[in-house]
């Protein structure tokens, strides 16, 4: 789960990480008031779940409170399009108004779990302000890493290694070690997937300051962090994905094509989308229906397809294991009974109770296109999308 920058900074400051003075504002008047309170020049930063805000015009400097208010009124209520968002962008409902600090150097620090060592990994680099993958390509010698043993936690020598690696000196080394210890504690305490400060500024007067802050939380651990759950901003998500979750379909990702897909299992669902592309078409979504004992979720999946104006054909591909094919088939029939299905539906069934599933579909009298196997399903869906079969 993602959170906004202003929320990430608030959580970081609970763990002793120094962040710029600032406040979030949701109206131009509030932005003006915050700027006045801070005094002097301020940054006005659009709060969205996407990177690349600066280049997209979502971060501006204001010399006066009036200018801060003007910038806020230009940003608020609009949508920001960055290289990480689709063409439709993401809505700006809040701006963070912050003091401007004189920056001497820009550094990078992050914590994540390394899948090779299966341990928390802290990374630091003096090449802050750019994406770490670019640094890894261009100047890998500038990235320093330490693996942390969860039994003993982050150690001071590890902090010194990273701090010296970033060419910090004197008191800054101690300060950086303290900051890193706080970051590690935050990472562990709040069940994060990623903690990232990029850039971490060294100010003209030698202090360390988190100019930007990114936190991603482990969805599987949210059950034990009610405070973090509450930070979630649904408005930043694709509306169809929010709708899917409300209808009990947790694994739905909206995509650009016109073939709506309903599949059981994440790997198979990805493979179905790949196969559709191989056959010359493209999927409108990724949808793993999961394991089910009732037909509701199947009916709701069809509601999703009807709600998505991009869907021209639906492909149902089920290989029953835990999920029973007969339950899925009943769900498809119920969907036809409950709503007007305006597109062709291709169905491929295999696995647990497949004969019963096929019987339910054929005896229902609904008009669907039967597919023999995995390939046939994708192939027929692509043909139907091109209007070659009905």
């Amino acid at each position: 789960m993602k959170v906004h920058e202003y929320q990430a900074k608030a959580v970081m400051s609970q763990f002793g990480i120094p962040v710029p003075k600032g406040k979030v504002a949701s109206t131009p008047a509030e932005a003006r008031a915050v700027a006045k309170e801070i005094g002097g020049r301020v940054m006005v930063k659009a709060q969205v779940y996407a990177g690349g805000r600066g280049k997209a015009g979502g971060i501006k400097m204001a010399d006066t409170p009036e200018e801060a208010g003007e910038i806020a009124s230009r940003l608020l209520g609009t949508r920001l399009v960055t290289h990480q968002t689709g063409a439709e962008g993401v809505p700006i409902s809040r701006v963070l108004v912050e003091e401007v600090s004189e920056v001497h150097r820009e550094l990078y620090i992050s914590v994540l779990v390394d899948s090779t060592t299966r341990l928390p990994l802290m990374m630091a680099s003096e090449a802050g302000g750019m994406e770490i993958e670019e640094v890894a390509q261009a100047a890998p010698e500038k990235i320093f890493k330490v693996s942390i043993d969860p039994a003993v936690g982050f150690q001071p020598f590890q902090g010194r290694k990273l701090a010296y690696g970033m060419n910090l000196t004197g008191k800054q080394v101690t300060e950086a070690t303290k900051l890193m210890t706080g970051l590690y504690q935050l990472f562990m305490t709040k069940d994060c997937c990623l903690v990232e400060i990029n850039p971490l500024a060294v100010t003209a007067d030698g202090r360390l300051l988190a100019l930007d802050a990114k936190l991603n939380f482990d969805d599987n651990a949210l059950f034990r962090h009610k405070d973090i759950q509450e930070l979630h901003d649904e408005e930043q998500e694709e509306p169809l994905e929010v709708q899917a979750r409300q209808w009990g379909i947790n694994n739905y990702v909206k995509m650009d094509g016109n073939i709506g897909c309903m599949v059981n299992g994440a790997g198979l669902a990805m493979a179905v989308n790949d196969l559709i592309q191989y056959c010359g078409g493209s999927a409108a979504n990724f949808l793993d229906i999961g394991t089910l004992n009732t037909t509701d979720r199947v009916v709701n999946a069809f509601r999703m397809f009807v709600a998505d104006s991009g869907v021209k054909v639906v492909l149902v591909n089920i290989f029953g294991g835990m999920a029973r094919v007969d339950v899925i088939a009943k769900g498809v029939v119920e969907a036809y009974q409950q709503m007007d299905i305006p597109f062709p539906v291709v169905v491929r069934l295999a696995g647990t109770n497949v004969d019963e599933g096929k019987r339910i579909l054929s005896e229902s009298g609904i008009n669907f296109i039967e597919a023999e196997d995995f390939y046939d399903g994708a192939h027929k869906a692509v043909q139907a999308a091109k209007g070659q079969i009905k």
Partner: protein, 293 residues
């Protein structure tokens, strides 16, 4: 022959009295697996499906000599269950549970270090050696005993792959689902290593997906160690970056996580790449035809 599970497997089920636990215990017994014990704290002394239930794993092992465990415990308690089975000295643990917090798994891995227990999963369909033993939730009937090893990060995609193989008359030595999480107990390399020294495995089918670098690690192993042909497919060529595609581990966060990069790495070391997921069986057949001539 086969790897991990066979006729000598004596299975213990953690979470045997739950809905999923009892349902799949029944299926495993029907397949011929020797289920010797179940564990559900507080339900010790009872019997379910003719299997004695114990309050803890240590006691169950002492009385039944169980040598493998399958875990159906809910996500919040699953890490504890894995460590309990490890502590009792069980050499093979298969964890089916989906949704275990990553930090819990970090602790589990730290706990497993230096111990001889092998963990498969979590968030996986389990392990089956066709005709011998099933320790998992996969559909037994689609499998056929034979000489191709299957290792996969997926569940249902693996069923499709196995069905493709079986329909072409290609049997399997063992099929291992390593699971869709970011921190699996066993990786492709671990399982390839086992298949490499298994006399009855002549070729291996590897089914990867986006996210992580497990496929690249597998490619390194294939290059240096593997003496048997490998057929590979990587799901998620069409997945957008930054989006979690169902599995916790299936998210492209960097260049290495892309399907194209993984395919490139596997192809470079001589693995045969199936052109699409519906032709994994056919690609395997071509490889087998080649090595038999």
């Amino acid at each position: 022959m086969s790897i991990l599970v066979d006729k000598a497997t004596r299975l213990l089920v953690q979470g045997i009295t739950g809905g999923e636990g009892s349902f799949h215990t029944q299926r495993c017994i029907e397949y011929g697996t020797k289920v010797v014990a179940g564990v559900t704290p507080g339900k010790g002394g009872n019997q379910i499906l003719g299997v004695p239930v114990y309050n803890n794993v240590e006691r169950a092992v002492a009385e039944t000599e169980a040598n493998a465990s399958i875990i159906f415990v809910p996500p919040a308690f699953a890490a504890d269950a894995i460590m309990e089975a490890t502590d009792a000295g069980i050499p093979l643990i298969v964890c089916i549970t989906e949704g275990i917090p990553v930090m819990d798994m970090v602790k589990v891995h730290s706990y497993l270090k230096g111990k001889s227990t092998r963990l498969i999963g979590p968030n996986c369909p389990g392990v089956i050696s066709p005709g011998k033993c099933k320790v998992g939730i996969m559909v037994g009937e689609i499998h056929l005993p034979g000489n191709v090893g299957v290792v996969s990060r997926s569940g249902t995609l693996t069923y499709d792959v196995v069905a493709q193989l079986t329909s072409l008359g290609i049997g399997q030595s063992t099929c291992v689902g390593i699971g869709g999480d970011a921190l699996p107990g066993s990786t492709f390399v671990d399982i390839l290593n086992l298949f490499n020294v298994d006399n009855d495995t002549k070729a291996v089918v590897l089914v990867g997906e986006i996210g992580g670098i497990f496929e690249q690690e597998a490619a390194e192993f294939i290059k240096g160690e593997m003496t048997k042909p490998v057929v590979a497919f990587v799901a998620g060529s069409t997945a957008p970056p930054g989006k979690r595609m169902g599995h916790a581990g299936a998210i492209i966060t960097g260049i290495a996580g892309k399907a194209s990069e993984k395919i490139k790495a596997l192809s470079a070391v001589g693995a045969l790449i199936a052109p699409n997921p519906a032709e994994i069986g056919l690609t395997t057949k071509r490889v087998l035809d080649r090595i038999s001539t």
